[in-house]
């Protein structure tokens, strides 16, 4: 049932070993795998299931519950648009729509060149600077639709280097 490379199997086993002492290591394991690979496909979940004894269906449930985890590869730059209440009333929907228009993808999708993914987030705890956008950990305050083009350009320039 596994179609993973030996190197991947080794690395995932290593990640599982890190939390061998924990009583409920699942979230930490998944979190490390997400950070390492950018996504957690079913084959990987099956391997984690074998190692932890947690049923695959339960792991799949966790992966599909939290928007931080992804089943498909994400782009090099993940544009996290906060749609929490504060950001939303400050116009976050227009911001995410602008990103969608300019990149030609919907929230949750990745551009064909693999450079950008748009994620719709629910409150990243930056209500004071709403609407907030977080790209690979860097937070942009008070984003307006007009500033979207500049942000995309910034990463396109980086990405092409």
């Amino acid at each position: 049932m596994n179609h993973l490379s030996e190197a991947a199997v080794r690395q995932i086993n290593e990640i599982c070993d890190r939390y061998a002492e924990e009583q409920t290591p699942l979230m930490m394991i998944l979190s490390d795998i997400q950070k390492e690979y950018g996504y957690i496909p079913l084959e990987v979940q099956e391997l984690v299931s074998e190692r932890t004894g947690v049923p695959v269906a339960e792991i799949y449930g966790v992966v599909t519950f939290y928007s931080f985890f992804s089943l498909t590869p994400k782009g090099k730059y993940v544009i996290g648009c906060c749609l929490g209440t504060a950001c939303y009333v400050k116009g976050a929907q227009q911001v995410i729509d602008k990103f969608s228009d300019m990149l030609g993808i919907k929230a949750g999708q990745t551009t064909e060149d693999g450079l950008f993914t748009i994620d719709a987030l629910r409150c990243i705890g930056a209500c004071g600077i709403a609407p907030a956008v977080s790209i690979n950990g860097k937070v942009y305050p008070k984003v307006s639709p007009a500033s979207v083009a500049g942000i995309i350009e910034e990463y396109r320039a980086k990405g092409n280097n």
Binding site: L42, V56, A57, E58, F65
Partner: protein, 589 residues
């Protein structure tokens, strides 16, 4: 146990500390409407919000199925606020529910409709978007329809509790949440063993057996020679479909009903069970004598066989090669019996009435096909489906006379065959025969009490004719895993192991009538704890009534060997009565 003083509707009561409000109220003579809670907390996720009540010390209304009682607590079940909240909870569940109730096989046993009645949720107050629907019809045993699901999680818990497998889980989030195997796959593409325990606990029609009633109707309409056989556990539970008390044996009425349904012949799978013992006991003795693979494990339960193939593909040589009793009987009906009565086997259609949903899958296995594409068994109906067919035909089950199985060359059965339906029964039947073969005489008192009961793993040791035989019995895959891990590690002390897929054996199979306190007002309040024993008792009592109680003393089985098969484990017996296992059985797409 320490006690606490509470008040319900202003009336003081003293109850055990640590109880939930729901349990405490029940002890005090109140039944709070509840939906997701099941079987004394086997599943209590408080997900449905149907059991809301007012309780002092709590903020807002509380879900009584999980909220514990405390000293001085005052509980209000009938306050306008609590009554309205419970009704709204049910109305919200109904608003996202496929209310095409007449198409649903749970019709009449639906717990959602039951709480709708209790809470007075009549109007369609909330209308709007519905959760995207998945209907899984690919699996020949279980049909999953998320449009009927109330997300109670009982199936998720049962799969984990009974088997430690956990095929089902909650997927996605919020409004899009569904209960499904990982990736929302079909059961047949998941590590499911198809035991059907999830069907037994589902409160609605979200999980149902894949009905084969239409297939049987068609065969009847085509004028086929339709023969029916009934598994032992069916007679111990069929009466429940018609309001009889749990544990009422209904063998005679069941036969009478089947005869009225137009079957040409009505036989008992127990004949096949006796045949299984002849083959299996001889296989075991052969393995012991020749240093074959031990321990040998029974192979009657298709859920267990699925588990072994999927989870322990390296240990399949431990499984007996015997087909299950109804498959053996099917093979004999289409060869030996068809020839005797002069019916072309191609025109014969064998229907098995089973307590099991997995038998529907088993009968489709490629190994269960004889020459010329003939299947050993053509259709499998569960006990519940038989109930439906009997009602459809307008038969008053309780008014039926007791009738006998058709008296023909394959109707005899022993008490050993009857107890196949309960965990430990196959082991006991095999021991009765092994005792005779190894010691030359019957065991005093016949029975082997040591292997009876409902403990998860039971073991016993016998000395039979100088041979020491250590045996183990389990049901549900939690116990099977323990025993198989021992085998894998080379530490298993056993000669012979019986494994059944469903906890308690076939009497609690995935095709048996639903056991729900709310629909059983005349049963004792502990019925959820005792129903398995009551059904088992129905089988043990039939065993006691039989004049022949050992498989090797079934004269018709002896005649079958003399006239047709030769001897147990003969070449022909192997061809017709034995099977093989596939460690690489394709499951995933």
């Amino acid at each position: 146990m320490s006690k606490v003083n509470i008040k319900i509707e202003g009336i003081p009561f003293e109850v055990d500390a640590g109880l939930t409000i729901l349990e405490a109220a029940r002890q005090c003579g109140f039944e709070i409407p509840s939906l997701c809670a099941f079987n004394h907390g086997e599943c209590s996720k408080a997900s449905c919000r149907v059991c809301l009540v007012e309780a002092t010390g709590a903020r807002g209304l509380v879900a009584s199925c999980v909220y514990p009682v405390s000293e001085g607590m005052e509980i209000k079940i009938s306050s306008p606020k609590a009554v309205a909240a419970r009704r709204v909870s049910v109305e919200l569940l109904l608003s996202n529910h496929n209310r095409n109730c007449q198409e649903c096989d749970k019709n009449g046993k639906c717990e959602l409709l039951h709480v709708a009645k209790l809470t007075g949720a009549k109007e369609e107050r909330f209308q709007g978007e519905q959760t995207p629907v998945t209907r899984d019809f690919l699996t020949p045993t279980i049909v999953r329809d998320t449009s009927k699901c109330v997300l109670c999680g009982r199936c998720v818990e049962r799969c984990k509790n009974a088997h430690g497998i956990g095929v089902l889980g909650f997927e996605n989030r919020g409004f899009k949440t569904i209960v499904a195997p990982a990736e929302n796959r079909s059961f047949i593409q998941s590590p499911c063993i198809m035991c059907g325990q999830c069907i037994n606990v589902c409160p609605t029609g979200a999980l149902m057996e894949a009905s084969e009633i239409d297939r049987v109707d068609q065969a009847m309409a085509q004028g086929k020679y339709v023969v029916v056989q009934t598994a032992p556990a069916v007679r111990a539970a069929l009466g429940e479909e018609f309001g009889m008390k749990i544990g009422t044996p209904v063998t005679g009425k069941m036969v009478a009903a089947l005869r009225r349904l137009g079957y040409k012949k009505v036989f008992d799978t127990n004949f096949g069970a006796d045949l299984t013992i002849m083959e299996e006991a001889n296989e075991l003795l052969h393995r012991v004598k020749t240093g074959g693979v031990l321990p040998m494990i029974t192979s009657c339960s298709p859920g267990w066989v699925n588990y072994a193939e999927y989870y322990y593909p390296d240990q399949l040589s431990h499984l007996s090669t015997c087909k299950s009793p109804h498959e053996m009987f099917g093979a004999i009906l289409k060869t030996y019996y068809a020839k005797k009565i002069g019916v072309d086997p191609k025109d014969m259609f064998v229907v098995s009435i089973m307590p099991c949903s997995c038998k529907k899958y088993e009968k489709n296995r490629p190994e269960m096909e004889e020459e010329g594409g003939l299947r050993d068994v053509d259709a499998v109906l569960t006990t519940r489906e038989l109930g439906r067919v009997i009602r459809r035909a307008g038969i008053r089950f309780d008014k039926l006379p007791d009738e006998d199985f058709d008296q023909d060359i394959v109707h005899d059965y022993s008490g050993a065959g009857v107890i196949f339906g309960v965990t430990g029964g196959v082991m006991e039947a095999a021991l009765r025969t092994a005792h005779y073969v190894l010691t030359g005489k019957e065991r005093e008192g016949i029975i082997f009490k040591e292997v009876r009961g409902f403990e998860n793993i039971r073991e016993a040791e016998f000395e039979l004719g100088g041979q020491k035989i250590k045996v183990a019995v389990t049901s549900g895959m939690r116990g099977a895993k323990v025993l198989l891990d021992q085998i894998r590690e080379g530490t298993s002390p056993y000669t012979f192991i019986e494994v059944m897929g469903c906890p308690g054996g076939c009497i609690n199979g995935g095709g048996q009538p639903y056991v729900r306190e709310v629909f059983l007002p005349n049963e004792d309040s502990d019925i959820m704890d005792t129903y398995k024993e009551k059904r088992a008792q129905a089988l043990y009592s039939e065993d006691e009534r039989q004049t022949v109680r050992q498989s090797h003393r079934n004269e018709q089985v002896q005649d079958l060997y003399k006239e047709f098969l030769g001897e147990p484990n003969s070449h022909l017996a192997h061809e017709l009565l034995h099977t093989s296992y596939n460690p690489n059985r394709p499951r995933f797409d």
